[in-house]
């Protein structure tokens, strides 16, 4: 029982980070109907940026956080302007391929700038200790849980109470109405990419502290897709809940089944199994809107 709870708590913390990363994906999808395959690569870039500022430059964690977020804002602006804006009105596949190509370029740039070696800044993130009964929460995971939670709440407040949040929600609802009301759709698109980049790099810094950084950190993006599909692609609440569910399930499945399988690595395949099952039985996820098509 303790083992199960331990796995569940660790999974919860991990799942919250997945939810944060998935949220970036959902925001872009809702605002500009673009499926952003490169979301996981924002996470990877975030991990590398965090490493650069923390270890070679030796900056304190708060400065690192601010500098990383500023870089992410610039990155989001450049990416949106140079690669996504020219494709407005093109078919879905073109835009999806564009984000995949973007992911390839980001991976190449990361390899070029930081090399293929495994990087780590273990112990540099602030830690919190919490022990409930026999269950101890690993400190890196706990800080991930707290930071992700704060970010998610901040984002929800942004959507609920600010003007740009209102504009973004309106754009998700109906693009033509928004344009006729005098809201610049392009600035809404740019904002959504900036937010996606920022939550991505924050997730990257957190995950980098837990698991170290290599180009494989981008695979967390694939988990984010499973989260998004499970929650329903256009539901923010769904993404958060599905992130937590997937994090817990993955950890429990890996904890119990990995010793049984000689090769192990079930945690890596798990999101895909979830994806296939969701896609076959409930293609629009738990909370997504079923799309009604007309000719």
């Amino acid at each position: 029982m303790t083992f199960l709870l331990q796995l569940a708590v660790t999974g919860l913390a991990l799942g919250m980070v997945y939810a944060l990363v998935a949220l970036g994906f959902v925001i872009i999808l809702k605002c500009s109907h673009t499926f952003n395959i490169a979301q996981g690569h924002f996470v990877m870039i975030g991990g590398y940026l965090g490493y650069t500022f923390l270890v070679p430059l030796g900056l304190p964690i708060w400065t690192t956080l601010i500098l990383t977020i500023l870089t992410a804002v610039a990155m989001g602006l450049v990416i949106e302007r140079l690669t996504i804006r020219p494709l407005v009105g093109q078919p879905d596949l073109a835009v999806i391929m564009m984000t995949i190509a973007l992911a390839t370029v980001l991976e190449g740039l990361a390899t070029l700038l930081w090399g293929a070696e495994y990087k780590t800044y273990h112990g540099l993130l602030p830690t919190l200790n919490l022990k409930v009964g026999e269950i101890s929460v690993p400190p890196e995971s706990l800080i991930g849980l707290v930071v992700s939670f704060v970010c998610v709440v901040l984002l929800l407040l942004l959507f609920r109470f600010t003007k740009i949040g209102l504009a973004m929600r309106a754009t998700a609802e109906d693009l033509q109405v928004v344009q006729s009301m005098g809201i610049k759709a392009t600035s809404v698109y740019a904002t959504s990419w900036i937010i996606a980049c920022v939550v991505g790099v924050i997730g990257g810094i957190l995950l980098g502290g837990v698991s170290g950084i290599s180009v494989h950190l981008s695979e967390v993006g694939l988990k984010a897709f499973a989260v998004v599909l499970l929650g329903g692609v256009n539901s923010i609440g769904g993404a958060i809940l599905a992130g937590i569910i997937l994090g817990i399930l993955e950890n429990i499945a890996a904890g119990y089944l990995d010793p049984l399988l000689p090769g192990g690595g079930l945690a890596n395949i798990f999101p895909f199994v979830v994806m296939i099952i969701v896609l076959i039985f409930r293609p629009y996820g738990l909370f997504g809107l079923a799309r009604i098509e007309r000719i």
């Binding site: 499926f35 690669t83 020219p86 494709l87 093109q90 879905d92 596949l93 073109a94 999806i96 391929m97 564009m98 995949i100 190509a101 973007l102 992911a103 390839t104 370029v105 991976e107 190449g108 740039l109 390899t111 070029l112 090399g115 293929a116 694939l222 897709f225 599909l229 692609v233 399988l261 000689p262 090769g263 690595g265 890596n268 395949i269 895909f272 199994v273 994806m275 296939i276 896609l279 076959i280 293609p283 098509e293 007309r294 000719i295």
Partner: protein
């Protein structure tokens, strides 16, 4: 599609002919003579590149039928290649079958795997289908690594070279001929397929599947048929790949290659047989260029520069084509042809 000047299609066979003028026949024969003579004046290194191009052409033709003509986007194409590769490898290496019997079985097995993972396509499309096929890729590769007794797991397995009677296709030249002939046959099949009822149904499904269904096209049947045919091509390509190397391992089937195959379609021109060939040839040549330049770059800049350059070059090529030539090289080629055909008066026509 413009008619060629001076070609009068007076009978049905003339109208249906693939090569319609003496000029086209001439180009066709020159191409055959050129391909047949390749081993005479090219080094083994270049023959290897040409063989790889042939295998890529087969694979991309399959993806073109599935994605370009039927509109079902598959990003697990390399996964299906792996199915064909391993079935053929196991049949020849473990059971002692001949390559010629194993190749159709490999194609069939890949086709059936495609049917299974194509099932969700009845309910979903676009991004959802991309995710399902990506999942298919990773599940297939995971299975390959898990079924250690059959596949050798991460260590891979040795695969015998194909043989005709007592003649083993050991030399680069003989394998080059095998791949070229198969690539030609499969391209011919694709050319004919898209002109049949099935091919036209594929195009209707691609353009609007609801409208197609209303017109009486059985979506269930044609979507699965597209998956089956596309994956049969992948299975053949995968089988040829491992028999060429004489070795099969999961590393030969990286996920990024699936993306790269879609990239070939985009660069060449989606939904066009010539486009698939153009895309496969040009991007494989680009890969080769990167491999040649890579070592110099590694020595000059940094050790990881070559790998990074390959990734960046691939990504940038796709980005540039998506922005500046979304209809691919094939479209550009047609424009250039039209320009010269109409020549002194071609200014307005060219764009």
């Amino acid at each position: 599609m413009s008619r060629r000047f001076g070609t009068f299609r007076e009978s049905y066979p003339q109208d249906m002919a693939i090569l319609q003028s003496p000029g086209q026949w001439g180009i066709f024969f020159l191409l055959i003579v050129f391909l047949a003579a390749c081993p005479l004046f090219f080094s083994e290194r270049i023959l290897t590149v040409l063989t790889m191009i042939g295998i890529a052409v087969i694979s991309v033709q399959g993806l073109n039928i599935l994605t370009g003509y039927c509109g079902q986007i598959s990003m697990g194409h390399v996964g299906f290649m792996a199915v064909g590769a391993y079935v053929s490898a196991i049949l020849t290496a473990k059971l002692g079958w001949s390559f010629w019997a194993a190749l159709p079985c490999a194609a069939l097995a890949a086709g059936i795997a495609g049917l299974v993972f194509g099932l969700p396509s009845l309910k979903i499309k676009g991004f959802y289908l991309i995710m399902a096929t990506i999942a298919a890729h990773f599940i297939i590769i995971w299975l390959v690594l898990q079924l250690r007794g059959l596949t050798g797991g991460a260590d891979g397995m040795a695969v015998p070279k194909p043989r005709i009677g007592s003649f083993i296709l050991q030399s680069k030249a003989s394998y080059f001929y095998l791949v070229t002939i198969l690539a030609g046959l499969f391209t011919y099949f694709a050319l004919n397929l898209i002109r049949t009822r099935t091919g036209r149904a594929f195009v209707a499904v691609r353009d609007n599947d609801l409208a197609a269904e209303v017109m009486g096209i059985n979506l269930w049947r044609y979507k699965l048929e597209a998956f089956f045919i596309g994956c049969v091509y992948a299975g053949v390509a995968g089988s040829l790949l491992v028999h060429y190397y004489g070795f099969a391992s999961a590393d030969q089937f990286p996920f990024m290659d699936s993306v790269w195959y879609i990239g070939m379609l985009i660069v060449g021109g989606m939904g066009s047989i010539a486009g698939a060939i153009l895309g496969a040839v040009s991007l494989k040549l680009l890969d080769e260029l990167v491999t040649v330049v890579g070592p110099f770059l590694s020595a000059a800049v940094a050790a990881q520069a070559a790998a990074a350059l390959a990734l960046i070059a691939r990504g940038l090529i796709i980005i540039l084509f998506l922005i500046y030539e979304p209809r691919g090289l094939e479209h550009r080629f047609e424009l250039i042809k039209a320009y010269f055909k109409l020549w002194p008066f071609s200014q307005e026509e060219a764009d």
